[in-house]
């Protein structure tokens, strides 16, 4: 079942998954909102590391730039601006929690079994593009130019909408 060869790549994969999973778990279980954002940033960084392992450097560093950098800072910024009292913890419901734990374990078992028992096609030796940043750019402006432009329009609409909404609040 565990036919894994121990290489540097595997070690890095393990470290990044540990960062991502612990970041995600802490994000849900911590009490203070700022701590949550920090652990979420850790999960984003782990994800960026995964992209590096997959030889997608461009996506990896855009991930760091946009998510770990800009989004996290904006969230912290928003949180600091607002007053937040530490909410009291919800009362413990033993039956509910036990059922949730059993359900989660079952789901995990199911997924794990399904993944391990699937016969994946023999992976072709992966040949990354010589310069995958350039490859992404060329694809974006040739084959995918219309989806790309539509996305830009969508973002502009969202942007203008946000300004209009904020203006209405201010008046």
């Amino acid at each position: 079942m565990f036919n894994i060869e121990f290489s540097g790549e595997f070690a890095a994969f393990f470290v990044f998954s540990a960062i991502m999973i612990s970041g995600a778990v802490l994000m849900i279980s911590l009490d203070k909102v700022v701590h949550m954002v920090v652990s979420m940033a850790a999960a984003f960084l782990g994800l960026a590391g995964m992209f590096v392992l997959l030889e997608a450097e461009f996506v990896a560093f855009v991930q760091v730039l946009i998510y770990a950098g800009a989004v996290s800072i904006l969230m912290i910024f928003g949180i600091m601006m607002t007053k937040h009292q530490q909410g009291e913890r919800e009362p413990v419901k033993p039956l509910h929690e036990t059922l949730a734990a059993v359900g989660t374990l079952c789901l995990f078992g199911l997924l794990f079994y399904a993944i391990r028992s699937t016969a994946f096609p023999e992976p072709q030796p992966f040949q990354a593009a010589e310069d995958n940043t350039m490859a992404i750019g060329q694809l974006l402006y040739t084959g995918y130019v219309i989806p790309f432009e539509l996305l830009s329009v969508l973002l502009t609409v969202a942007f203008i909408g946000a300004i209009v909404l904020a203006k209405k609040e201010a008046d």
Binding site: G8, H35, V38, E57, L65, I73
Partner: protein, 338 residues
């Protein structure tokens, strides 16, 4: 460096690379020590003062003594502070500052990493430092620190946008995000082949945005002494405070090297008949000039007001840098068909 980078990673190679990183760390620490000394000296001279001259000959050991003082100081953590974040914030500010240095090429053969998205790597990681600063300000649980942290976040986010957009022109001209290729694309023999003349708009925007990213005068609002005591690091002392200062000066190093690489032709000589001088000398000369330029600005400019700061970033620098991209693209399309 290059032969080691392309070999497979064995324990021996890992050790060699690690030792190189340690050597480099000490070089950077040496730079920071004497950058602080020269900053104080140069600003002193410009303001008709003497500058530090007590410790050692010509005051050369002043910074060493200051650092020693910082390290033996009592390390205080305010009791109301968020302990965990207070401790990790300086590390979070410093680690990206040192990591971005990895992609900077010094000469044809002296570089530490050959990354095809080098420029993006630099920009992405330097954003993480802001996170450290904001968290440091928030975790101190002090209103001045919080204000400093907030200002810093607002400023660094607003100026990162024009900074990134202003270098797009350089990327268009050289057709690569790899910093080594960017330098190689500026090789024409003469200094007008360097990017700072063809990309003069981008260069000006880049320098202004870079000074602002560094939180230095005239954009030093996050740590404006007269308004905020010291800004985000007001509650920090000793070792942790030293880390914040250190990351600030490591970014001075990084920005000076990046400007040299992007706009001043890296290791290329300004005129062809000076080619016999080794590239590292040219690199260091340009680098030293940028560092001096930063000190010079600091000695001569007053601080900008906080409302003008945001206006300058979003209403002036951003449109100008967008215009620069448009002009560069139009030029490449009309005159240099590829």
């Amino acid at each position: 460096m290059p032969p080691w980078l392309n070999e497979s990673l064995t324990w021996g190679n890992a050790l060699v690379l690690f030792l190189w990183a340690v050597v480099f760390l000490f070089i950077v620490l040496g730079f920071v020590t004497y950058a602080i000394y020269f900053e104080r000296k140069v600003i002193g001279w410009m303001q008709q003062r003497v500058g530090p001259n007590r410790v050692g000959p010509l005051g050369l050991f002043q910074t060493v003594a200051d650092i020693f003082k910082l390290l033996i100081k009592e390390d205080t953590i305010p009791s109301k502070a968020d302990r965990l974040l207070f401790i990790i914030a300086p590390a979070l500010a410093y680690i990206p500052a040192f990591s971005v240095l990895a992609v900077l090429p010094y000469t044809q053969n002296l570089y530490f990493a050959d990354l095809n998205v080098g420029l993006l790597y630099y920009v992405a990681l330097s954003g993480i430092s802001t996170l450290g600063i904001v968290l440091g300000g928030w975790a101190s649980n002090n209103k001045y620190a919080l204000l400093g942290g907030m200002r810093s976040a607002a400023q660094m986010i607003s100026y990162e946008v024009p900074l990134v957009i202003s270098v797009v022109g350089v990327i268009l001209l050289s057709g690569s995000l790899n910093l080594r290729d960017i330098v190689a694309a500026q090789d024409g023999g003469w200094f007008w082949n360097w990017n700072f003349l063809p990309q003069i708009i981008g260069f000006v925007v880049f320098v202004i945005a870079a000074v602002s990213e560094l939180n230095r005068t005239p954009f030093d609002l996050p740590e404006a002494e007269s308004e905020l005591v010291a800004g985000y690091h007001v509650e920090y002392s000793g070792f942790r405070f030293a880390f914040f200062m250190l990351s600030e000066y490591v970014y001075v190093y990084a920005i000076a090297a990046l400007t040299t690489v992007l706009f001043l032709g890296g290791w290329h000589a300004p005129v062809p008949f000076l080619d016999f001088v080794p590239g590292i000398v040219w690199f260091l000369l340009k680098f030293a000039f940028i560092v001096f330029f930063l000190f010079w600005i600091r000695a001569t400019f007053p601080r900008i007001r906080v409302d003008q700061l945001m206006g300058l970033g979003w209403k002036v620098l951003l449109p100008v840098s967008l215009l620069n991209i448009f002009l560069t693209a139009a030029y490449l399309e009309l005159f240099i068909k590829r």
